[in-house]
Amino acid sequence: MADLLDLTVAEATAKIAAGEISGEEYGAAWRAAAATDELNAYLWTAEHAESLEPDWNGDGESAPAGEGDATPYGSNAAAPAGSGPLAGVPIAIKDIFTTQGIPTTAGSRILEGYRPPYTATAVRKLTAAGAHVLGKTNMDEFAMGSSNENSAYGPVLNPWDRGRVPGGSSGGSAAAVAGGLAPAALGTDTGGSIRQPASLCGIVGLKPTYGAISRFGMIAFASSLDQCGPFTRDVTDAALLLGVMQGKDPLDSTSVGIEGGIELPSREDLAGLKFGVPRELGESAVDAGVRAVFEATVAKIEELGGQIVEIGLPHAEHGISAYYVIAPAEASSNLARFDGVRYGLREAGDEDLIEMYERTRSEGFGPEVKRRIMLGTYALSSGYYDAYYGQAQKVRTKIAEDFDAAFGEVDFVITPTSPSVAFELGAKTDDPLAMYMNDFFTVPMSLAGIPAIAIPAGLAAPEEGGASPLPVGFQIAAPAFGEQKLLDAAHALEGALGFEGGARA
């Protein structure tokens, strides 16, 4: 069994297709592994391959037959297809994606027990390619957080050191892949929620270009920033999953897809490619160990024939400020739908409608979600709109222009993924601003809507000392819809770095 779990997704699908291993045994081995979860990575796990029995109204009743791809309301839309490029592969899904008949909470008490009547497009694309839903993973409530400590269902533990956080908001997905509980997982990234946990857990995390993958069925946090993407053990698997999920979706009018699709990367050198290092990086707050790994990786890029060029991102330092106005503003609007009327929690009150709304939302939302709703409502309120929201949108323009200018000179922009390695549980829970600073390097790409990948680049001891070395991520960003080139370069670098995932052992 153990060697089945050592295969990457690309290796496993090749062996299943060649008849060397059985897809059923492979799936069973992963279900058994997921059942041993001690990291609180899963909120729900599939006990059987066929456990997606349609139960879309809670009474065990099957949905009527669907009308093909145009509608998500057909029968058992999450049932795996018999064949396809991901035939037999179980995949862990962040609990922010709706899955027909399977509990979906977004990490919130306000959605406890909710069984959606339809399945998110990204998940439907995976299952249509033969993948199975292995489980639903824990997350910061409504994807708001950088440590997974904001889940209503308890924190997720980092598989490298169970006293530390896995990062967030997709902490369960990252921990599941790093901890050997899933071969791959789906996450979402609004300001770094795929890249930062991938970095803290020593795996690959890809945030595609905004619009590359449909957002239909992804419970909305900040609609102009949210994008889903894969957590995988290597870059090839990230390309495989992106290739299956990307595409324009009639159910999401902001989806675009990637022209020409995605091929599995094979590049092994970086000759002729220019990598931009922001000159502002020198001034940034980065742990010494993380900086050392970053510099060693830059040297590796040069060994592979890549050229390092200094570039400027003068407005990136204002990314956190702009993001923590724009994202909460959009969230305050999106989360208005949780009002105790159509689904989820209702705190009863015979009183009146407003009182029912207020009691439901006060009981159902956790502290960080309330904080962001308040922040967003304040930034949008009369008298403050121009000063905060309007100004933040202008900063967003300047950040995007900085990237445009940089990509006039270089192919990629590189930075550390996170300023530190995984921190201890509870270390930043009392200081929201310190927690937000985890997103310093990932937020600018989100605001610009461009793709970025986090790959594990090495290990570093935590700044405070006294613990074993922990994974350090390296971030590579590319122009919009430049995923193929990004994955090719990341593949070459990954091969040269030879990072060995140690958490599963």
Partner: protein, 97 residues
């Protein structure tokens, strides 16, 4: 910089009910965050176009063909208080607000 009154006002707009301790904490935390965010207010961005969205959006119409929509009993399956094919709520009239 954000006082108790402002917190209560924004909480009301947000349809959130905060207890006294939460109001205190929220005032302190929001002030701290806004103090950081305030750095962008001093940037001279006169004439810069605001970006609300990175994708060029155009209105789209779907083809006018029948499709499977969600049956009412399914839409109501997760409702806290379904009532004769509808969502039941407390009276909006009771509050003079």
């Amino acid at each position: 910089m954000i006082d108790r009154e402002q917190v209560l006002h924004v909480a009301r707009l947000s349809r959130l009910r905060l207890d006294d301790a939460e109001v205190e904490t929220m005032a302190g935390e929001l002030s701290g965050i806004l103090e950081h965010v305030d750095r962008i207010r001093s940037l001279d961005l006169e004439g810069v176009e605001p970006t609300s969205h990175v994708v060029h959006l155009e209105n789209v119409l779907r083809a006018d063909t029948p499709w499977q929509s969600m049956p009412p009993q399914v839409a109501l399956a997760s409702a806290p208080e379904p009532f004769e094919g509808a969502f039941r709520v407390p009276s909006p009239q009771a509050d003079a607000d």
